[in-house]
């Protein structure tokens, strides 16, 4: 699998994502946000961080970066796109995923491992988990409170596009949503950090399954 990890000004989990992918055997390329063309890729990762300081709105300025037009085209064409934390916020800002993120209900940054339920196994990201499986991944964000309209929320449920749900809602998200899939199921945005649970030394390997699954499903 060829994976590209995009670095925006202020990305800070780009290396972590690349390390986790490489450990699973992916060939990882680092991509600068100013690029307008991309090499052939099976997976595009928008990593966590504070792009543009998260000023204005989280992910808002990065969503308008030159590289994003091409990311959107690839997503349309079916390439897998994974947005983690700030990457999820960017995908929502650019409209590749529904909804938006506002400040955590507790108004504080929260960094801790949380318990999640894998809400669907029907995607190239989650096929390696069992539907309903309980997993534990760290979160680390200030604005992870997922907001979407009731109608949108119903649609996500109907189309089985909620990927992960918090067991114990740490940020006030609508319907405890921690991760959602795009309509084509090839785009996933999630607030928890799978790359921080991919090395047994760091506590837990529940996130590693996601990367291994991508390798298996995308070759």
């Amino acid at each position: 699998m060829r994976a590209g990890v995009i670095t925006f000004p202020g990305s800070n989990c780009d290396r972590d994502a690349a390390v986790a992918l490489a450990a699973c055997g992916a060939a990882v390329t680092s991509i600068w946000h100013a690029e307008t063309e991309l090499p052939r890729l099976d997976l595009i990762v928008l990593p966590g961080g504070f792009t543009y300081g998260d000023y204005l709105r989280c992910g808002a300025i990065a969503a308008r970066a030159p590289v994003m037009a091409e990311v959107a085209r690839r997503a349309e064409a079916g390439v897998a796109v994974l947005g983690i934390c700030n990457g999820f916020q960017i995908l929502a800002e650019i409209g590749l995923l529904p909804g938006a993120m506002i400040s955590n209900a507790g108004l504080k940054f929260v960094c801790r491992p949380v318990d999640l339920e894998v809400a669907t196994d029907a995607s190239p990201f989650t096929a390696g988990y069992a539907r309903g499986q309980a997993i534990r991944l760290p979160i680390a964000h200030h604005d992870g409170n997922y907001v979407c309209s009731e109608a949108e929320c119903r649609r996500l449920e109907d189309e089985d596009r909620v990927a992960f749900r918090y067991m114990d809602n740490p940020n006030g998200s609508t319907a405890r949503i921690a991760g959602v899939l795009g309509a084509g199921r090839n785009v996933l945005g999630m607030m928890p950090h799978p790359e921080r649970a991919a090395d047994p030394r760091l506590g837990g390997t529940d996130g590693r399954i996601l990367f291994q699954t991508l390798l298996e499903t995308l070759g």
Partner: protein
């Protein structure tokens, strides 16, 4: 020309910041405070001198960057 853009969360979108301010005010003993909402007020210096063109420019800025239509509305104003 000086311009202002007021971006606020749509009615119906929960506003944790506003709610926290409301609670804190009550705790400080301010009575009779109803709903509190916190929005952004962005002030810009524009080179444009034509009001109509400036207004159109601002509108475009909001559509393209300053507001997120999923959760926010905006209002623009120009100083005289």
């Amino acid at each position: 020309m000086k311009a202002r853009v007021h971006v606020r969360l749509k009615d119906g979108v929960l506003d944790p910041q506003g709610a926290a301010i409301g609670r804190a005010l009550a705790q400080l003993g301010f009575a009779g405070v109803g709903e509190v909402r916190q929005g952004k007020l962005i002030e810009l210096e524009l080179a444009e001198t034509d009001r109509a063109r400036a207004a159109r420019q601002l509108e475009a800025m909001c559509e393209r960057l300053l507001a997120n239509p999923v959760i926010e509305t905006y209002a623009v104003s120009l100083e005289d």
